[in-house]
Amino acid sequence: MEPDASQQLAMYKKMVTSRQYEDAIQGAYFEGKLPNFNMANGPIPGEMHLSSGQEPCAAGVCAHLTNDDYVSATHRAHHIAIAKGVDLERMTAEIFGRVSGLSGGRGGHMHLFDTNVNFMSSGIVGEGIAPAVGAALSFQMRGLPHVAVAFIGEGAANQGAFHESLNLAGLWKVPFVCIIEDNSYGISVDKKRSTAVPRNDVRAAGYNMPGIYIENNDPLSIYAAAGEAIDRARKGGGPSLIEIETFRLTGHFTGDPETYRPEGEKESITKRDALPLMRERMIKNDVAAVADIEAAEQSASETVARAIAFARAAPEPAPEEALNMVFV
């Protein structure tokens, strides 16, 4: 399954929007926090987990999803939210803790819900897998042609929730796909020191589902493998597990000194950044004209600027609003 020219350009646009978004969020995040980094200060308090480098995973998978399809994402969710079509202005307002945010500022960056596109994220490793299996069960029971996708990191494959949920998915043959973004680090501990197998796709055998490993963060390979798995799930052929080798170009959290990385690693993964590589390949293979690519980039930067401006202009919530929405 090869993406055609317009699909490639669409994926590139999602990826570049996400990258520009993360750059803009990083800039806003550091406002008021320096010179002595204090996480509580500035317009965006709290932890921040940026996804720069991991955009192909989201763009390649979500290219196959509709608004009705369900996605659960992680603490590092911005690229997935953008690829799934979450309302970027309300999402940004949420990240800034403003009244116009997706939950009116109750959740923040780690708790993004947009029910219009069936998207949720959460802050606990491995927590979103079972809800996605349950969403898939709902689609199966109601005879709907939708699929549910759980995005997780490679660290989550060592959580009990991963094993329980994939066993249920394999047992019930629900329309579910688990995407593992293997950025090779659970915070500071690399995969070799945390995981008994070098690649998690082999674990799929334990749940009676196909397992696929994609090397090198390649958007086209991700598009192809995800397309096959999602199509199979949609047609009642059951779940799949896909692990993608990807690269986290920033720290685990914004402000992470990254002292755990071996010397030279940052430079080497930066050279493998999928964004410029995809751009070059599209030009070289005549997939898109430079003008079209630049137009996509310009449009992305306008989208991001609008979202940030929307968030900054939105008022802060009234303090006592905190008391609402515990129950509906």
Binding site: S103, G107, V133, G134
Partner: protein
Amino acid sequence: MTKTTNARKLTISKAMAEALGEAMDSDERVFLMGEDIGKLGGAFGNTAGLYDRFGAKRVRDTPISETGFIGAAVGAAACGMRPVVELMFVDFFGVCMDAIYNLAAKNAYFSGGAQPVPMVLMSAIGGGYGDAGQHSQTLYGTFAHLPGMKVVAPSNAYDAKGLMHAAIKDDNPVIYLFHKALHGLAWLGTTPGSITHTPAEPYEVPLGKAAVLREGSDVTIVGLSWPVHLALAAAEDLAGQGVSAEVIDLRSLVPLDKECVLNSVRKTGRLVVVDDDYQSFGVTGEIIAIAANEAFGSLKAAPQRVAHPDIPVPFARPMEQFALPNKDKIVASVHATL
């Protein structure tokens, strides 16, 4: 309660199964998940007969994977279903609490109300039959302490059926705790007062409404679930001693019917709270704090409490009976307020 000439008495177990069957008949979105709930009909009989009526898809036996199937219920509830899941013993919450208190309880809040989680988690509570400290807890206070979940615990079959219907119709997650000492299973024994008239048709007992089970003027005894029956027995003894006790069944901890408790305390001026959960930082302390805050001027004596001491539920019969609340402890506590 409904008046009828032909009392139709059910156990709590049968009342729960009847409510579940009625809810599944009237709403296709309702389905059940849990361990041994299919052909076996549930470890406590709550789904008896439902597998044959509704089939394996809607009465879904799960592997022993509480994190998996309770988390799945959250996702199914987000996508148009109304799941009822059974956590066999409440003590097992330790293996799946994240799905309960971080997902089910918080998704509505984190979505600004856009993503309700209409699910019911039913679970067996309580000891008294020598099952030791991992199969005998009640943990009402733990669930009620954590925001985002409604918490109910019926003391009789009428309430069990009506609360189940109300819980399934509610758009919020409801923790439904049924007590093994009241359940009406031959192998567990049962408190006779839990077997009550139960109308054959569907009805709701609203969440958050307490019931005054016995009116009195000298002291208010507040409890829920099994301890309510101990309170009623104590009230009977006290009547013989010339003490008029009012007995309140909270039925629901979240929402809590504060007004019912406060109205009674303002009338009697004395309060005893009974609970088979751990004493410290729990239900008894909360009810007494509410009375102290909002009816202090009415109190004629320091409120008293009878609860499980802060120890794991012990196995040996003399030790377990020592730890559990009983009628005599309640009577003694009432006397301490007089």
